[in-house]
């Protein structure tokens, strides 16, 4: 049994069995312990200046997302405006990290975001199920990249992963990464379908070995989506991966993060698991749609001392 910081064998991806040997040699995760640790960190009390910092940091880390069949140009345009200037009454409010849309809406998002600095992220690879032939998935990726996506959020083939065909999952990520060209690749593990923390740790390492720039919990279409313990296990994985390879990988919990309190708990988790190096939008993102408005309400509350009604934040 080897621990994570022992070197990765050079032939780790040479066969299914080599990959299996490595991934199954990673230390196990004790479910009770991992959940207890996440729950303990969730009791941190974030007040005043710390809360102010956390709210602004959380806003700047949001991948503001709309992934619905009913999405239209109008909806995306509204979201882009919101992302660039979340609080029209307060110029000091940071902009979000990215707008996250389906591939066919990337061009529209790109047009409206312009040189604002807000990136365009696109889901791809037949999101959310990932059930399509590889050439179709790659075409999906290339289309999004050609339309101007800065970041691609791919889904792994959970079916292959769960049936132990790790090499297939690995190869697919490698090819998607190649299709991304210069776009950043976020690899969605869909942890709600992987079921165990051991699987989350293995899938995290698999995605990092294959060249993902970010590992992301969920599509938001499967319940449970992001949870604190899952994110904890993924943060431990990126920490250990950097220690082993020197390469830093980002983390993105997505789905189910709705309140300021939720967001602060994720930031506490980052702070006490991997620290300052990950506390920027370059290395940690929050995939969310309704979270932003709650952050804005709490931001107002901190500056004015009272809560505004929901009519004082924009509904997009």
């Amino acid at each position: 049994m080897t621990l994570t910081t022992s070197a990765i064998p050079t032939d780790v991806a040479s066969s299914d069995s080599a990959l299996r040997r490595f991934l199954h040699g990673l230390p196990g995760v004790d479910q009770v312990g991992a959940e207890a640790r996440a729950a303990a960190l969730a009791t941190r009390s974030i007040k005043t200046d710390a809360k102010r910092w956390a709210i602004d940091t959380a806003i700047s880390m949001i991948d503001l997302t709309t992934l619905e069949g009913q999405d239209t140009e109008g909806k995306v345009r509204a979201l882009c405006a919101k992302g660039i200037r979340p609080d029209p009454t307060d110029a000091s409010c940071p902009k979000v990290a990215a707008i996250c849309v389906y591939p066919d809406l990337v061009a529209i998002a790109k047009e409206h975001l312009g040189d604002s600095g807000v990136k365009v992220a696109s889901v791809a690879t037949n999101f959310p199920s990932g059930r399509a032939a590889l050439p179709v998935k790659l075409a999906d990726v290339r289309d999004a990249v050609a339309s101007g996506a800065d970041e691609i959020d791919m889904v792994i083939d959970r079916g292959a992963f769960l049936s132990g065909r790790y090499l297939e999952v690995y190869d697919e990520i490698v090819q998607v990464k190649a299709a991304c060209d210069t776009a950043h690749l976020k690899v969605i593990l869909e942890t709600g379908e992987l079921a165990t923390y051991d699987n989350v740790r293995r899938a995290s390492w698999l995605a990092m070995l294959a060249g993902g720039d970010f590992i992301k919990t969920s599509t938001g279409k499967v319940s449970p989506a992001a949870t604190l313990p899952v994110t904890l296990v993924m943060l431990e994985a990126v920490r250990d991966f950097r220690e082993t390879t020197g390469k830093q990988i980002g983390v993105k919990p997505a789905g189910g993060i709705r309140t300021t309190k939720d967001a602060m708990r994720y930031l506490v988790l980052v702070n006490e698991t991997v620290g300052d190096d990950w506390l920027t939008p370059d290395w940690f993102r929050l995939g969310a749609s309704s979270l932003l408005n709650d952050l804005l309400l709490q931001r107002h509350k901190l500056s004015t001392g009272h809560y505004d009604g929901p009519d004082y934040v924009t509904i997009d």
């Binding site: 994570t4 230390p27 312990g33 941190r44 974030i46 710390a50």
Partner: protein, 477 residues
């Protein structure tokens, strides 16, 4: 690790919720009374050295009066009351404790120095749970297997590390079985016991069923040696426990002792490593290491020792030491100047004996009693820090090569209160646990308590069990 960007602002729990009197008498026969021959002494907040209140060290005559009150209550009321009626009082006490939990948690942290997150999330829920649990037993004693008759008057002496929790471990089973008690809380932490006295009044507990005599060793000695006490229950140091055993020898008194420990926390190379690190940390730094069952000896398999230590140090650097009332504090104050002195001495000895000392760098407040989380590596079985109970946030790390060696080293101690085993292999957990001579063996966790689970020691860690059905035995005949 926990870095500079996200700096948690102070988040102090308000102490306005507690109302501490400037001085306290003794709680005898349902009333707070002035002492006959007792002397006043002060109890301080160990985090600031501020005097919190003046309390009374009960003298011989005070103890006499308390035992007489307990005897009268035993004979006239409590032992005659049907179990289901006694249960009502215990349920009521449990509910009042829950209602006043926040207040009691703050008071506990003020007097003891433990972080509010522990008094709030660990101590108080367990205190209430203990009363609820034994309340449920009160009308079912004949199914306990230990008889259904009470013993009489119990003299109970408790330590300062979990003041209210140890009170509940002592009082709840005693009362459920129909005994009455005279309880002596520790000298440095009397305040929550006095608050509990108020709760007894609030619950309309018949006078004399619970009597609380504050004081130090002399008061405890008077109680232990009192001829009309039928049962002694003591939790504290092995040294005092031995003295009590001598004092009680040759009398009709029954005795249970829960004493010191030097628990081995055994980490195998297939352990769930991140959770094992958490378990090592909570094993020794929980409650500043003032825990008789603390995992103060880390036995780690040699093949992973370096990596475990590196991860442990990294984790220790995130521990937040400071104001016990701050909700984000992980490590609070050492309970007393005397205890701090003892921890310093043993740590000094550890260095002199050649072990390597490493402490997390943390800012130590100017006032109060503090000791940073510390780990000693290169420790051998021959070192005093591997043998003696330090009762502070100091971990001694030893290594082993095979399961047999782990068991041998773990058992090679005069103590035997608790132990921990970390491995992903279920069969190994069972085989190792069977061979460990310790009252509690935790598997892939540490320092977890539950009122339904018996707790107690082997060898010099004492005898008798508290908690669970087993905990009734000491109070029934």
């Amino acid at each position: 690790m926990a870095g500079k960007l996200f700096d948690y602002a102070p988040a102090p729990e308000s102490r306005a919720i507690v109302n501490i009197a400037s001085s306290y008498g003794l709680f005898i026969n349902g009333e707070f009374v002035e002492p006959i021959d007792g002397e006043p002494f002060k109890t301080v907040n160990p985090a600031s050295e501020e005097v919190l209140a003046e309390v009374t060290a009960a003298g011989l005559q005070d103890v006499e009066r308390a035992v007489a009150a307990a005897r009268a209550a035993y004979t006239n009321t409590w032992s005659r009351m049907p179990g289901r009626e006694r249960a009502k009082y215990l349920f009521r006490i449990a509910r009042i404790i829950q209602e006043r939990a926040r207040e009691l948690a703050v008071l506990e942290s003020l007097d003891n120095g433990k972080p509010i997150k522990e008094s709030r999330d660990v101590d108080l829920p367990l205190v209430a749970a203990h009363f609820f649990y034994y309340a449920g037993w009160a009308d079912k004693l004949k199914y306990s297997g230990f008889g259904d008759q009470p013993i009489g008057v119990a003299g109970q002496v408790i330590p300062w590390n979990f003041p209210l929790l140890m009170l509940s471990w002592k009082i709840a089973p005693a009362l459920a079985c129909g005994n009455t008690v005279v309880l002596k809380p520790a000298e440095t932490t009397p305040l929550t016991a006095l608050a509990f006295a108020e709760i007894c009044q609030q619950a309309d507990l018949p006078p004399g069923v619970v009597n609380i005599v504050t004081g130090a060793g002399e008061t405890g000695k008077a109680l232990v040696e009192h001829a009309d006490v039928d049962k002694i229950a003591f939790t504290g140091s092995t040294e005092v426990g031995k003295a009590i055993a001598k004092a009680v020898a040759g009398t009709k008194k029954r005795l249970t002792l829960e004493l010191g420990g030097k628990a081995a926390n055994i980490v195998f190379d297939d352990a769930p490593i991140d959770q094992a690190i958490e378990g090592i940390v909570s094993g020794i730094f929980f409650n500043q290491g003032h825990v008789c069952c603390a995992g103060s000896r880390l036995l780690v398999q040699e093949s992973i020792a370096d990596e475990v230590l590196e991860r442990l140090r990294r984790r220790m650097s995130t521990l937040r030491l400071g104001d016990p009332l701050d909700k984000n504090t992980d490590v609070g104050a050492i309970n007393s100047a005397a205890q701090l002195q003892k921890i310093r001495e043993l740590s000094q000895i550890g260095e002199e004996e050649g072990a390597q000392r490493w402490s997390a760098s943390c800012e130590i407040p100017e006032r109060g009693y503090w000791f940073p989380p510390t780990v000693f590596t290169g420790v051998t079985q021959a070192h005093r820090i591997a043998r003696e109970e330090i009762f502070g946030p100091v971990l001694s790390v030893l290594t082993f090569r095979t399961p047999d060696e782990a068991v041998e080293k773990a058992n090679n101690t005069p103590y035997g209160l608790s132990a921990g085993v970390w491995t992903d292999k279920g069969s190994r957990i069972l085989s190792i646990a069977n061979r460990l001579r310790a009252g509690v063996v935790w598997a892939n966790t540490f320092n977890k308590f539950d009122p339904t689970s018996p707790f107690g020691g082997y060898k010099e860690s004492g005898f008798g069990r508290e908690g669970g059905r087993h905990g009734l035995e000491a109070y029934l005949r």
